[in-house]
Assembly symmetry: D2
Homo-oligomer: 288 residues x 4
């Protein structure tokens, strides 16, 4: 990676701590002669000397992005980054996250290391979900964590006819179905009974939510598969949710087609902290 | 139990098979000199010689009710029966149910036996759920299976502060919470990861749906407890569902208070078929 | 309960802390005019002024027993207490236990309260397991937690033909089978995927260990059942273990018959600490 | 693949059906001018006209091996095949297996297709486990399914200190630990609560058996990792088992080091049957 001279800062917009940290970081970077581009939602009008921009324009204008927030904020940024390939550093403002493993007090030493080249890039697989209604594509969505198809709260069990590369898998009768990346395995998947999949292991995870058939275990598939889920329930209210952040209604016979995204997200990681350390802390495994 | 001279028939109203079976059964019973009262929803206008009635009035006018349908139909009848104490015989029109374990071909021999006193009554515990909003009771509901509090499809994880007899239990962070009778343990509970609780064992089952805290295991409590669940999530859409059949929105700080119902449902059972036989068949445990 | 004038002390014999605490407690009780009988395994020769006795003779000679150790020590004492009905107070020397919920620093205030009558007695169901070989009883065992039938480490899956009150349940194909009291539900059962059963809810829990049939869920049965398990595997090495503490080999066609014990163990509990507090701490559920 | 002119036949030696099928197959192949080498354990003395050989010598002398037996028989053959790279076709003599998906009645049509080149080779990852005691290698073992470290039946929970590529993972407190290939995910792993991992997805699966820490979920790792497990329990009896077929005692501080094997097993598969069909049948998922 070439010398970093331009850094973007994106943060959780309604959070005072994100705004304050963004300014401190901007100043610290500017003092080092680095150009800073700040998410305009974090930028108070009266601040001078820094450039700001709508967050969606930042990825194409910088060499690296610092995200100030939680795992949710990083998921949004992953979507913005899309195919640009800009690496991202996640900083948590509250409790340790799987994607934001740098705590606020570690921020400056961590960035110092990054500027000195003491870091590694971890490539995280994303998924693309396409929704097809009556033969027409009605939307295509990029997710870093998961695609969730689930029933409304008052609906009954739904039927999801599922194919892997055109081979019939089964018709899940369940509250819903999660199609997840390894990165997403420690998010909603875990609550639904899934395993922990090491984040750099290219693979796709399929987990039914409260399945009626008790032997419908989580399924881990090769990354190159195409998964096709057809909604077969007519009267029930069903939704698709992308990275737990936004979604919409599905109708009977809607097809959701899920494939690996072409580009991976490039996460900046400390070479000195292992994934297992984060795992032990988040899951309270206890020490030696 | 005294000699049975008056029997009610209630069935799944939109099902042709229920209507046909009801008529056959009515005729068969009338031939034996038994008075029959048929759910008016099953009664075609032109049928003569039988009394009919709105289903809700049947329990108070008969000594026994035959239900033609599935477990769902029986759940509705259980609600109608309420405190009347009338025993109920469940006949499944399709696949074997946990509550409707008599198949259609066994119907006449089974009723013959019942009329001869060759049966046992199994008492099934019910629950009463009361919803309290801003200090006022806004509804009270009787369930034979379960009370489910769960989030809307697009909502995030919800917070449910839970007390057992005024002792703080925990604040579940989950997709929802099931409060179930033993009868309900083989319904939704099973999909949510719960154990099988023998249906006559008085107890209350608490199962979080996709809990964020992985150690939040199902909890089996004594029947005399009062469970209080307070919704603590403000912005999320949350619902309460009763026996999987009807429900409504909950608001922040709504209290759901659940207790054992005073009366039990009296199910008519064959002395010749064990619960375990039903279990083995429904769960495909295989034979010896 | 009448005024307490005679207390027994039993502890984990190879633990220095148990010996020290026993002496301090003995002195403290003697100062209050209470007669103390100490487990001889805790009694150093040179100590004068206290009576000592083999632990098995203590229950019949005192009005109450203080156990110094962990849950394992309390399980052994429960066996000694047997039908005597002497209440037991559990004090943990290390980390909080489900049965030993009093910590060492709380010992004197706790006993003070007990002497003043500020306590409640919680009755815990026990089980009796009888092993029958070729028609003959070869042993009868009392357990407070669980009976475990499991295969040797190099053995394959074993077949356990199981009956509930002479009704065939299923033939488990598994690594083993746990038959547990509610007290035992938070011990081995929990690791094997079982629910948490409130300790005073009379019931029996059946949990297969790593069952081959994935739908073989934990089963919660009424307390009055008789469970009969027949070992059907010939060549595999199989063991029965009682309360995780001792056990022996089973042979093909051996019958293990399990029933509720007639007497319950009487545990002395603080009226000021709820079971749920212990649960939250042990399972790291986090606070409000 | 070049034209097949020499085929080996290995079978379950104590099974009459294996012997009979082997002879029929040998005759059928000989009639087609194919040289046949039969496992001597299947060879009745009086049979003439066929070559026979100890099974361990067969892989180096043929172009393909037909296995007659169950998944267990195929696991043994996988070990014999080792690094030779000879492809293997599994034929089940009883019920459908995950590795032996060809039923006896399909045998001749299936082989016909293979001889005509209508088949695909599926490469299955194997693992190599090395046991190190006091600094010395005491054995190295090849497995297609799994390495299991588990406690003896009367032993208590054991401590297994585990490292991934020299990074500390955790110290499992459990009945044992399974380290499995994707092929092994539908064997013992499934009973221990694991997910289904598509058999060609290179990865290593780590599943604790009845873990004391309830958040110790199954872990799916990249195939290039080295897993190191150190036994930390002194007094308990602990065993290592390889592919569920043979094993031996481990001692305190023994190190088990597990890596992917260099060579993969080459399984001959029908291009007309999907893995998901086998899955649906074996796990009774039901059809559409």
């Amino acid at each position: 990676m070439q010398k970093i001279t331009k850094i973007g800062i994106i943060g959780k917009s309604n959070k005072k701590e994100a705004i304050e940290s963004a300014l401190k970081l901007a100043k610290w970077l500017a003092d080092k002669g680095i150009e800073v581009l700040i998410d305009e939602k974090l930028m108070l009008k009266e601040q001078k000397g820094y450039s700001f921009s709508p967050s969606q324009d930042i990825p194409s204008r910088v060499q690296m992005i610092v995200v100030l927030g939680g795992d949710g904020t990083l998921l949004s940024v992953a979507r913005l980054v899309g195919n640009s390939g800009v690496p991202v550093l996640g900083v948590n403002l509250g409790s340790l996250g799987f994607l934001t493993e740098i705590a606020l007090p570690e921020l400056f030493p961590a960035i110092e290391k990054v500027l000195n080249g003491d870091f590694r890039i971890e490539k995280r697989m994303s998924l693309v979900a396409k929704v097809i209604r009556e033969g027409k594509d009605i939307g295509e969505y990029l997710v870093l964590n998961d695609v969730v198809i689930n029933k409304g709260a008052l609906a009954r069990i739904i039927d999801l006819e599922t194919y892997i590369d055109e081979n019939y898998l089964t018709t899940y009768k369940a509250d819903g179905l999660i199609i997840s990346t390894p990165t997403g395995s420690t998010a909603y998947c875990l609550s639904a009974g899934g395993p922990i999949v090491y984040p750099t292991l290219s693979s796709v995870i399929l987990i039914p939510i409260c399945p009626h058939t008790l032997t419908n275990r989580p399924l881990i598939l090769p990354p190159e598969v195409t998964i096709k889920v057809i909604l077969k329930s007519e009267r029930e209210e069903v939704f698709i949710t992308l990275d737990g952040q936004w979604g919409f209604n599905l109708l009977i016979n809607d097809i959701v087609e899920i494939k690996r995204a072409e580009r991976t997200l490039r996460l900046i990681k400390s070479p000195h902290r292992s994934y297992f350390e984060v795992l032990r802390t988040k899951l309270k495994w206890g020490g030696r």
